[in-house]
């Protein structure tokens, strides 16, 4: 009875087995997804962050070093907190923050660690360390942040911060991961790849609770971290700090360059900030405050603030005029204010040397007119165009209107207007010398950034060439400055035209417009003052200088906004710095006192949380 039903029963057994075997074939052989997911499960990338390279000044003093901090990590699945209120109190957070942070961590992963509190200082960490044992799921992870023992040079050094989403997407070799730190501005950004070193990765096997269970495949995929290279800069920290001190309560820039090498000795942007405030856990908060500050402490003025150069431009006018054959040392013009330009009271007429010594405006009105309208074409407009193009080419050979190749990001090129620019305004052949005449004394449309002014001083000190200004002396084991900073850039003005100008600049200091404060006993100093007309307020004070005359060791440009005559503010600052650098003493403390007392800002400083 029903004996044949045994076949049905056996068939059911066989079919079930067959279904399993087929199903397993799909899962195990045909679908490779599971293999990856298994690896994903078990493999934990452990990143070994390399030590970021340190930054030194030219004398080996440390500018930037690393401080250990602790990130408090959380693995949500393991968290057991009996009393949230106590926890929040102990860790100094509000209940809302706690809930938010845990939620964020949970959304990322319940079993992988997330930073719960970032960048606790050693002192802060010591306060909570003892409590950690009460809270499973929380553990500290050491990392480093940047520290600045001298609080100087903030705008040039820049800062590091978490990489942005945009940068993450843009990167080509996909080195960075979310949460990585990257140099965002300044030298930190420019030398990022050398400073950061090479990250190491260890692949560990972990169990479901994240406990390590040995290295994955015996470590064949592991890489060792390589520490970052140390950067040795050309900055003279003492000079830098002195410059920052002198520029207190003033808006502007000081740039000092060693003419013989192009090395930047001092780079002051004022007002600035203490770089330490952008290195800790209060980064965002402090950054927002700095960003809102009406005095723009984050604005890298030496590199980015464009101003008309004012009378210091007469130096290049004099050089270019000689090169164009318009001026000779003996060319004389009367100081005739009826042509338009105002002038200071000085003997008249003046030759080329005197025109610089006394900064004669009418002289350069005439000189510029002759350069622009050379009579090569009967049409004044066409003639002006020919002259202007020739003039502009020579002017730009001093590095104006172009980025100099400074090793900092975001430099502004300044502006030497192109003929097309004027065409646009006045129409083709619609402009002549009288249209653009304010360029003669460095006013009008011409725009220059302070580092270009310093570079100009260096070029004159070198009698016709410059090295691209740079901060780097060398980096890492390579003891050489990078190739691009060994290259001489020649201005298109013959060397023979310089001596008279340099003599004139010496006269400026010894017996001209800058003679009030700026003589340094026993040294021949060359300089040129400038007062930049400012339609929005008080005139800007500008000064360029280099010394010693015979063998220039330092070239300085100082630009102080709303400080009036160049001779009264910018020049004494440059003089003090020069003396400090060359002689390491201040022979006239009253000048120092006079400068330190000057305040062009009048404001209460916003207190910044540190």
């Amino acid at each position: 009875m029903f004996r044949d039903r045994k076949n049905i029963v056996q068939l059911i057994f066989i079919l079930t087995g067959a279904v399993f075997i087929v199903r397993l074939f799909f899962i195990q052989v045909l679908d490779s997804r599971y293999k990856f997911e298994a690896q994903n499960n078990v493999m934990r990338r452990i990143i070994e962050y390399p030590y970021r390279g340190l930054i030194y000044d030219r004398k080996g003093k440390i500018l930037v070093f690393n401080t250990p901090v602790f990130d408090l990590m959380v693995v949500p699945k393991e968290v057991q907190i009996k009393d949230t209120a106590t926890f929040c109190k102990r860790f100094g957070i509000t209940k809302e923050e706690f809930v938010k942070k845990i939620k964020e961590a949970r959304e990322y992963s319940t079993v992988k660690p997330t930073a719960f509190l970032k960048q606790l200082s050693i002192a802060d960490f010591a306060k909570v360390q003892d409590f950690l044992i009460d809270y499973p799921g929380f553990y500290p992870q050491a990392r480093t942040i940047r520290s600045y023992p001298h609080k100087s040079l903030a705008n040039a050094l820049g800062y590091i911060g978490e990489i942005s989403k945009k940068q993450l997407e843009k990167q080509e070799n996909k080195y960075y991961l979310q949460g990585d730190y990257i140099g965002i501005s300044g030298l930190e950004a420019n030398y990022e790849e050398l400073l950061r070193g090479q990250r190491g990765v260890k692949y560990m096997m972990v169990n479901v609770r994240g406990v390590e269970k040995g290295s994955f495949r015996d470590g064949i995929y592991d890489t060792i971290s390589v520490p970052g290279e140390n950067l040795y800069t050309s900055i003279d920290l003492e000079l830098q700090q002195y410059g920052e001190k002198l520029m207190e309560n003033k808006i502007g820039s000081v740039v000092a360059i060693e003419p013989g090498t192009g090395e930047i000795l001092a780079f002051v942007s004022s007002p600035s900030y203490d770089p330490n405030i952008l290195a800790g856990r209060h980064f965002s908060e402090n950054y927002r405050k700095l960003e809102k500050d009406s005095l723009k402490p984050l604005f890298n003025r030496p590199l980015m603030a464009m101003y008309p150069p004012g009378s210091i431009f007469k130096i290049v006018q004099a050089l270019v005029g000689q090169q164009m054959g318009i001026l000779t040392p003996h060319t004389t013009f009367a100081c005739n204010r009826s042509w338009g330009p105002n002038c200071h009271n000085h003997p008249s007429p003046q030759n080329l040397l005197g025109s610089i010594q006394w900064s004669c405006n009418p002289y350069y009105y005439m000189a510029f007119r002759n350069m622009i309208q050379q009579g090569k074409n009967d049409n004044k407009f066409k003639d002006s165009r020919i002259g202007y193009i020739q003039w502009r080419d020579l002017i730009m050979s001093y590095g104006f209107g172009q980025k100099l190749g400074v090793d900092l990001p975001n430099m502004k090129a300044g502006y030497i207007p192109s003929p097309e620019f004027y065409d646009k305004w006045y129409g083709y052949n619609g402009w002549k010398h009288s249209t653009i005449r304010s360029l003669d004394i460095g006013q009008g449309e011409v725009m220059i950034v302070p580092i270009q002014m310093a570079n100009m001083a260096a070029t004159i000190a070198n009698q016709g060439f410059y090295y691209a200004p740079h901060f780097i002396k060398h980096i890492g084991k390579n003891n050489e400055v990078p190739e691009q900073y060994k290259e001489k850039h020649y201005a298109k003005v013959d060397k023979k035209y310089y001596p008279v100008i340099i003599d004139a600049m010496e006269m400026v200091v010894s017996g001209g417009t800058a003679s009030i404060f700026n003589r340094i006993d026993g040294m021949k100093v060359c300089g040129k003052t400038g007062t930049v007309e400012n339609p929005h307020g008080k005139d800007h004070s500008v000064y360029i200088t280099f010394a010693p005359k015979e063998d220039p060791k330092i070239a300085i440009a100082v630009f102080v906004e709303n400080a009036g005559f160049g001779a009264m503010t910018a020049a004494p600052i440059a003089r003090l710095m020069m003396e400090k650098y060359l002689n390491d003493t201040i022979t006239k403390p009253h000048i120092e006192k006079y400068i330190l007392e000057k305040d062009f800002i009048h404001r209460n400083k916003t207190a910044l949380k540190k």
């Binding site: 009875m1 029903f2 004996r3 039903r5 045994k6 049905i8 029963v9 056996q10 059911i12 057994f13 066989i14 079930t16 087995g17 279904v19 399993f20 075997i21 199903r23 397993l24 074939f25 899962i27 195990q28 052989v29 679908d31 997804r33 599971y34 293999k35 997911e37 298994a38 690896q39 499960n41 078990v42 319940t110 096997m205 972990v206 169990n207 479901v208 609770r209 269970k213 040995g214």
Partner: protein, 432 residues
């Protein structure tokens, strides 16, 4: 002495061989499931599951000897007494058992923990076989069927009250046994259609299924009407049409009731367990987690597997219950498709051998018991492996002889060896 000689000749050594294979392979895999390369572990270490399993295997050997020594008539004679005792024990467990993971199914006697539900299987099988094995019993009678349902249902209800759903379902294995004894195949077919409908109802909303069934019903009606021969009476036609109609209504009602049952009656965690069957991603970290991780472990084994003790997913605890209910993952991961297939083929051959043995019994009692053994093992095999590869919902029942655990190994050993004892004495049984 003479009897022992007889026994060693008449016992089915092939089945014993299968048993030994499963037990040893299971033991090795229990070790592999918790193996930690860094800890220099020893498979015999009694602090490990593998060491403990060895104890269970040893005690099982003692049990086997006991079973073989006891007179074969004992099982038939004392089946009802054991059954009664078992029901009492099950009821006692409901009230006195130790609670673990929401169910009250364990009895603790000193350090020994016993799960009475495990032993209910072979005792119920014995009772059922004893009842149906009586000469004067005719299965066709309704009364017989009701008594069978009672014998099977009583322990099932007790276990259900212990909240041990997985073990309750095992009792449905007896349907296959009864089918062999004459239960209408319609029950099997209805069960099959029911399961299909159930799964469809989980995937599609019930009104969609209803529309499809109405469509199919109309097609069936058209077929019934157009395919009639001249000789067909109108009455037959009406009956057939009614049959189609009733069928459709029952199907639609089933679809709606499944929907109602799943969404309204079941508790949240139970509903998720069923829904993840259709789509494990519905709750990847909750109910779907087990299945997802289990599939990852098995899938990562690929064709040949990672090698013995080389798996990562099971031993690092990504797969839950990796020594007990999910032991098959270790096979899948470390021995790949090839190893899994060998194991499955072994189980199928083993179960077919059991059916063969059952069929060669001249005695109805032994045959029914034999079928019970085969079907209970089959049910565990089907549900256990099915759940690890995501074609059955996660129901916590062990893989016979393979999974770690004393109660389970003991109960399967007893289940199997009582049958082997009966089989060894099949000629004497005939004479009785």
């Amino acid at each position: 002495m003479r009897q022992d000689d007889n026994l060693s000749k008449s016992i089915d050594w092939l089945t014993v061989g299968f048993y030994a294979f499963f037990v040893v392979a299971g033991w090795l895999n229990v070790f592999a499931a918790v193996y930690d390369a860094e800890a220099h572990q020893n498979i015999f270490d009694f602090s490990l599951n593998s060491g403990k399993q060895l104890v269970w295997i040893g005690t099982s050997a003692v049990l086997i000897i006991l079973i073989l020594v006891i007179d074969y008539k004992f099982y038939n004679t004392f089946a009802y007494i054991m059954y009664g005792f078992m029901i009492l024990l099950l009821i006692a467990t409901i009230f006195l058992g130790t609670e673990a993971k929401g169910s009250r199914s364990w009895f603790e006697i000193g350090s020994l923990r016993i799960q009475p539900a495990e032993f209910a299987k072979f005792i119920t099988a014995l009772a059922l076989a004893t009842y149906l094995g009586k000469i004067n019993i005719k299965f066709e009678k309704l009364q017989t069927k009701l008594v069978c349902a009672l014998i099977i249902g009583l322990p099932a209800i007790c276990i259900l009250l212990q909240n041990e759903t997985g073990s309750v379902l095992v009792f449905s294995a007896f349907i296959l046994v009864l089918y062999r004894e004459g239960l209408s195949p319609i029950i099997l077919i209805l069960g099959f259609v029911g399961v299909i409908l159930f799964i469809l109802a989980l995937i599609f909303p019930p009104n969609v299924i209803a529309q499809v069934i109405v469509g199919l019903g109309i097609l069936a009606l058209i077929y019934v009407i157009t395919s009639r021969k001249k000789s067909t009476k109108v009455r037959t036609l009406v009956i057939r049409s009614c049959f189609v109609l009733v069928g459709c209504i029952v199907c639609i009602a089933t679809a709606f009731s499944v929907d109602f049952f799943v969404n309204k009656v079941l508790q949240d965690h139970q509903r998720k367990r069923i829904l993840v069957l259709v789509n494990p991603d519905i709750d990847p970290l909750g109910a779907g987690y087990n299945v997802t991780q289990s599939k990852i472990a098995i899938g990562s084994g690929e064709f040949l597997g990672k090698g013995f003790l080389e798996g990562t997913q099971t031993k690092f605890d990504f797969v839950p219950e990796q020594s007990t209910d999910f032991i098959f993952c270790t096979i899948g991961e470390e021995h790949g498709w090839l190893g899994s297939t060998i194991l499955i083929v072994m189980y199928v051959l083993f179960m077919m051998r059991l059916v063969y043995l059952a069929e060669r019994q001249k005695d109805k009692f032994a045959r029914i018991y034999g079928y019970s053994v085969a079907c209970i093992i089959f049910f565990h095999f089907m549900v256990n492996i099915g759940m690890t590869i995501g074609i059955f919902p996660v129901i916590g029942i062990p893989l016979p002889f393979f999974s770690y655990g004393g109660s389970s190994l003991w109960s399967f050993t007893i289940l199997l060896f009582i049958f082997l004892k009966l089989d060894a004495h099949r000629r004497q049984l005939l004479s009785h």
